[in-house]
Symmetry: D2
Subunit: 343 residues, 4 copies
């Protein structure tokens, strides 16, 4: 059994990690920490866990965490970078679900996240945990930077086109829509039901923190700089991301459908829908799957990719467990084979 | 492996049965029938099942169904009663998720369901599949009448009080609220998102078909006639039932909390919350659990019980699988141990 | 033109008052105060007001408020009672949308609201602003206590039965369901979309602050003590209250439908639906109407009343404007004749 | 008073027309027709209209309709074209809220709508009812083709850029999101709350009927052919359209904000938000306003326009009333000055 700890478990990413790890056949949960909720039974905060998780929140304790095989950080940005070095030193493998290790360029990170980076020397070593790109590196990684939710949906959607050099990489558009859980469980006016329900809006059009992360991944895939316009939107639902991607075809492509199916045919968590389909976010609710479809409207020069994930699963906790499975040589789908809840 | 067939799988009860049976370690799905969708891949209608269920809908075929160990009817009322006799004759055990075998009194059934009963001779044999009441009888049953969604939430909430003879059984009130999936997947104006979202209403106040079913169960529990006012409401959400139950205490009760905890302490799917708690329907979303809390406001003579279930799981497909587990000597929780999806 | 001021306009009650007063033909908005948002254009916080309201939030200024004909308090409980005496002294009429002046018994108020009352000497003078009961008193009132949202829906529903002495007043049950806007616009975890959407729960079953207010009103209507069990529930929608009321008939009633129609036939904002109907909250969305229906299921001894309002209109801002209209001798429906938004 | 009739009033467009016309100071509703609901009181189907509209649905009767000054068609596509000639002949002015007269090219219409056009000779005369473009023509029009919901939001957003020749018109992208009421009130599985709530999806990516309508309008604005990719999405809310528009700048623009503000400064129903803003659909709920914002992310070459309307108001019934106001020389805002409902 893999001994796992979670730092910061009071948010949506935390409860989702608990749901997945509590049902994982090869994992023994050791500790879940929260300074603010120290002593509280986890199942009291999250009643869905009653009967499944008996842990209580505890103060972060390096002794306990150091005895884990793996520690997940489900903390706000800027926390994992303070504790990762000591844990790695102690031989613990670390998966950060926040953004601390996602960007390779420390200066870029500091610009977008507005604070100095506490251990930029680890940025080179950290493996970006998108298994569909970096599976081999993840296997050996000590430190995994779990991708953001938007970056997961957008990168998976663009990858086949960029890897094949088939599109005008200077003018990519990612119009992305997220459920409100993506904004976290912290109280705020903007995400009250009274504000966010029965309404739809774009936000952060001038610049969202996931932009440099997506751009970095796309540039690596295309092996060249990319120009990306990324517009996130807040959608009146709890879970789900839908990315609608637009690009201009530059090369002749025989069959986009075949291209996508071949790229992902061995991937357990990417499902290319039949030609002409439109994926729904609910088809992946609670599941670690990314479903996508590729279109070429009116047989024109613009390709449209539709890519959906559950932002809390493939976009966060599920992908973290997938990374753990890879790191520890387990079946990649272990603990992740549940079926999405529909309706 | 238990060979299972499903008759009528295009509704919400059907897709939920598929989700649960596809993940059940001891079940091999043999067939799912639908006249209207004959030939269609199940996963094409319900994309959450892609990669998990490869079956196609087929015409109902008694030869195939007769080779099953168990057949579930996820059909409209009035269908199971036409086919159950032949299947039972063939040695197949039958679980009807509709109402055909729920009432013991054929005349009462015909009055509420507006059609003659096709095999009233089976009503006496049919076992009402509420395991918390009839577990022993279910074990041996050939034919199980799976309870309705409202009846499950209401009966479980009232049982400890009625079994103990503690309340005025002549004036019971069940104010119940259901998500819209309870109305099924059939197109109708009243359950369009444009009609049912952002609104709340009672319906069927003059008389709902679940009234006689609930009354029958409560009368058996209290061993005397009961007077029940049952008011169902439509709630703008997909899944979940919340029953708020009111009764006047007639006997002195030392401790209602203890009463409830003791009644359900051995039940794997009934969770009595700590004193003072308020169960949320989302805490059982996708899970086979009924969570409840018992209150006595201002230490007065009125007891208030709050009881929540997922109408599609403990209120339908999950309870059907629980019944199957009991009938076939499996662990009662087999295939039903997933954690509710929250948020 | 009536010069109107609003103290505390950053909540949902405030923006709704602004919407109604901005469209009122006889009102000139003078000031809207908010310490925290001093200087901000109201329409910047509430973009629906762009083009309709040019005011900015200002610090509360007694000089400006004293020059108003009427001042509305859309503040948290405990604020109006600090400022009302000075305004009344200055000849300004005051309508408090919070609870400061709703209870006649200062000790009871202090028990439920957990603070000493700052001007209990005004409690006797304050008029409880339920026009369907106190229209005459409101006409002459200097100080109006605008009723709570639940109390409005519940009292209007029970009134005809209690006034006629037709029911067992010792065992009244009010099962009430509210949209989330009833909890206000203050950030809190419990009312995030991620928490409150797709879920349903009761809350405050041991005792809610609206209980003594409702009880006081019902006792006055029935001219005797009442026993009331009041259970509020949180419903996954923005606006709307649905009260389901239960009582045992004690006297023979010829025709409940006629009783209700006659009681409210002259009321511009109470609409008794035809026999057998079920009011929907959406039918009053944005309107100052209370719609209700009265049932007697299975011709038994229990009467069931269904009563719906928009909690922000007839349950708060609309009723406040209705009270203002009465106080200033305007047509009672002035500025309140808009049609509910459906769908 | 203008005598107005409505043909086909049982859908969402119909009830919204009724809401607006019932509150219009210069309109006298004469008739509302529905073959299927002949004899039913309108307020029985739409309870929000109780107390405001006393009409009953009647069979379409040319005698009554011919006595109207204006007749609105709130019918499915293909109905208005059958009756418009006779009404025009009788001197009645006609506003069609469906698509029958929106396209100038009859062959194009027949291709997209799958039926022969019954009176293509009227296509040239019919005025496309987008007042911000065709106000003068509308004044004199006998026959107005009221624009579609998507086309309204998309055209208003692109107009300033195209009229100025500032963008690459060959590669326009309109990523549009609509509430479910856009799909109408007809029963269908796809728009059940159980299907469409808590989910998000694109639809009709290969080609949506609003594509040729939008293209026609954009081409006229730019006075040249345009290449447009239009992807509509279904959003889990009742009302609202959000169009996110992308274009590549070709010319140097001094100040996009000024460009938009100047283009729409005299428009009563287009509101250009301050620089940096993100319009929310709820800010126009129930109102005839289009709010928009223009962005140029990271000062790059891509311009992003955000444009929101209420699909049932500015996207349908409200714009129809605006057209009527213009046609009859009324104040353009008559009956349309209500404030959006927020929250």
């Amino acid at each position: 059994m893999i001994k796992a700890g979670i730092v910061g478990g009071t948010g949506y990413t935390g409860v989702e990690l608990l749901r997945l790890l509590a049902g994982h056949p090869d994992v023994a949960l050791q500790a879940i920490t929260s300074r603010s909720e120290n002593g509280l039974a986890v199942a009291e905060m999250f009643p869905n866990l009653r009967g499944h998780v008996t842990l209580r929140f505890t103060e972060p304790d390096m002794k306990i965490l150091s005895a884990c095989d793996v520690v997940f950080f489900a903390t706000p940005n800027g926390i994992a970078m303070q504790h990762a070095p000591a844990l790695l030193e102690a031989g613990v493998r670390v998966i950060d679900l926040a953004a601390d290790f996602r960007l390779k360029d420390a200066a870029e990170w500091e610009k977008w996240y507005g604070q100095p980076h506490a251990c930029s020397e680890l940025l080179a070593e950290a493996v970006y945990g998108l298994p569909e790109v970096n599976r081999d590196a993840i296997t050996a990684a000590r430190l995994v930077a779990n991708p953001g939710c938007y970056p997961t949906a957008v990168q998976l959607g663009f990858l086949p086109l960029l890897e094949g050099g088939l599109i005008d990489a200077d003018h990519l558009i990612a119009d992305a829509k997220s459920g409100v859980s993506g904004a976290g469980r912290k109280p705020s006016v903007a995400t009250l039901l009274g504000e966010a329900s029965e309404s739809f809006k774009a936000y952060a059009v001038p610049g969202h923190r996931h932009l440099p992360e997506i751009r970095q991944g796309l540039q690596q895939a295309g092996n060249r700089p990319v120009g990306l316009t990324f517009v996130p939107h807040l959608t009146p639902m709890i879970r789900g991301i839908h990315a609608t991607l637009y690009a201009e075809l530059r090369a002749e492509v025989e069959d986009l459908q075949v291209l996508y199916e071949q790229r992902y045919q061995a991937e357990p968590f990417v499902d290319v829908l039949p030609a002409g389909a439109h994926p729904e976010t609910r088809s992946v609710r609670g599941a670690n799957t990314c479903r996508m479809a590729v279109h070429r409207p009116q047989e024109g020069g613009t390709v449209v990719v539709l890519s959906v994930i559950d932002n809390l699963v493939k976009g966060a906790a599920g992908q973290a467990v997938q990374n753990m499975n890879i790191m520890f040589g387990l079946a990649e789908t272990a603990g992740l084979d549940n079926i999405a809840l529909l309706p």
